[in-house]
Symmetry: C2
Subunit: 326 residues, 2 copies
């Protein structure tokens, strides 16, 4: 991402979405223009409330939040209160946000921002791809107007997380994911293969809790529930995956994957056991991934494992505008 | 495998099938009772001819060879002359075998041997699983009569080899594979995850070519074509995967996988992009693979990478009965 390129984030906020937003907001060089919400970790409406809570914390209520799809293109929705809590933020009982979402629908906002910034807008998608797919259906010229799309989603060599084959964001709307991955824009896919190897630990949480910035203490608070869930269901140890924060860091170029070939990627949209699986053609892995004609999807397959430390450092150093004003 | 347990090998001979058979025949402690052939690398008929050629080389024409299915349960057949040569043995122009296959159909032979050796027979499947599936359909009690089934097939975390998702043996007959993996017997699956990490090299070929045993020179001869193909299409270096020999070694207990959890395994039988993929539930990988109730499939996910050397050593030390007689 070139400095001054505008960024739109589409998310289902969500604990790790909140951490990713705080990470982006902590960087004054990022021109975060708008946030759109989608069902996934929680409903699109609660995701918008949580986004507003995060923006409030960061003193950035100038950034508009728009509500998007509350179910997949097929009309289904599988939320994840067992992972993110009933409120989507680890059952931390936060007060209602003071601000409200904009009335502009998410997909229309995406199209408008792309039209207003032709060839410059970056999209970062951290939830199911329903809003992006809807935006492409709304304006088929959209892919030609957007500079880059970064997507947290999928599982290539790594097992899925909602089924043995599929990762939650893609599994929640495989039809939308397939449409978005084949829309003809440049995409970076950030799958479980990398997000599961960049982990936040109890030590990270303690550092954030002891931090001076209220934002880092907020992050520590919502992280507690996430660590509980990951310990119980995934790692058997007190650590949690950095899904959305890692995708955000890759989107803004602060993390460069060590291995990220451009390969053909398909999404399983059958009703079989691989429904929602991202099928990337990595058969060229022993030959340095020779070019695959026609694909514009770069798949992050390896990062260096040092991101969580940098994320925590950033959140601990966060100085929000409202705090500056206060 | 306990010494004296009878073994039946089902295969689509094929270069690596031939190497696996030679490997088994080189061990006088293995009670190889019969070989059944199936379409796959080549037709079931050519596979039988090639099997007879191998048995002739090894001086073991006392072992019956039976021809089985020439297409999948769905009636399809995708042969692989581009990998194994038009003759299935690297276009080495070998003379016709002197002996003939038995007239007993493969599936019937499998059932008969299982009935004659209740609870003792081991099956080693190195091709599409059509014969085994047909045998189960022929005699639904078969799974209760067989001691263990070892299958070379599938790709779990590793990419496929005939499609981005699927490995050839499973892709050739997903319906049969699904039936066999769920038949209720104890199975060890030997997927690309391990067979691609145990590689024969040009150095191995030279050692076998320089060996005293005509069998090792035969192995070196057919390996040449295989190395060519793997260099061109897969590794970009003169090395080839040990698919079937590794499965044979695991079947007889000479190789113990370093990691081989018992997990639920399904096969994609849709017509989507994952058709033929083996979907193993490896989500427990970070917690030491907690037991998954009901599964009887052990999936080899890691071996120690030293097998090819041992294979070559065995083939170089091969002393066939006919040579002993001569």
């Amino acid at each position: 991402m070139t400095p001054n390129d505008p960024l739109l984030v589409d998310c289902d906020t969500g604990i790790d979405d909140a951490l990713a937003l705080l990470y982006l907001l902590a960087d004054p060089g990022i021109d975060l223009r708008a946030i759109t919400t989608v069902f996934g970790n929680t409903s699109a409406e609660i995701a918008a409330s949580n986004t507003l809570r995060v923006l409030e914390h960061a003193g950035r209520l100038d950034i508009p939040t728009a509500i998007g799809a509350d179910s997949s293109l097929r009309g289904t929705a599988q939320l994840a209160p067992h992972v993110h809590g009933d409120d989507g933020l680890g059952n931390t009982g936060l007060p209602c946000p003071v601000a409200s979402p904009t009335t502009e629908p998410a997909a229309e906002l995406i199209v408008r921002l792309a039209r207003e910034n032709p060839g410059r807008l970056h999209l970062l998608a951290m939830g199911p791809l329903t809003n992006l797919a809807t935006a492409v259906l709304l304006d088929p010229e959209l892919p030609g107007l957007v500079k880059h799309v970064t997507i947290m989603g999928g599982a290539v060599h790594h097992p899925g997380n909602v089924t043995p084959a599929a990762e939650a964001n893609i599994a929640n709307d495989p039809e939308a994911a397939r449409l978005v991955l084949r829309a003809g824009w440049d995409v970076t896919l950030v799958p479980l293969d990398v997000t599961m190897t960049e982990v936040l630990t109890e030590d990270h949480r303690r550092r954030m809790l002891a931090g001076d910035a209220p934002t880092s203490r907020f992050a520590a608070e919502i992280l507690e529930h996430y660590l509980d869930v990951y310990q119980r269901d995934v790692f058997g140890a007190r650590q949690a995956a950095c899904h959305d924060p890692l995708a955000a860091a890759i989107a803004i170029g602060e993390v460069c994957p060590v291995l990220a070939p451009i390969v053909a990627v398909d999404v399983d949209t059958t009703d079989g056991p691989a429904r929602g699986k991202t099928i990337a053609d990595t058969r060229g892995q022993y030959r340095g991934f020779p070019a695959q004609h026609g694909s514009r999807v770069r798949v992050a397959l390896r990062t260096d494992g040092t991101f969580a430390d940098r994320l925590v450092q950033r959140l601990c150093g966060f100085s929000s505008r409202c705090l500056d004003i206060a």
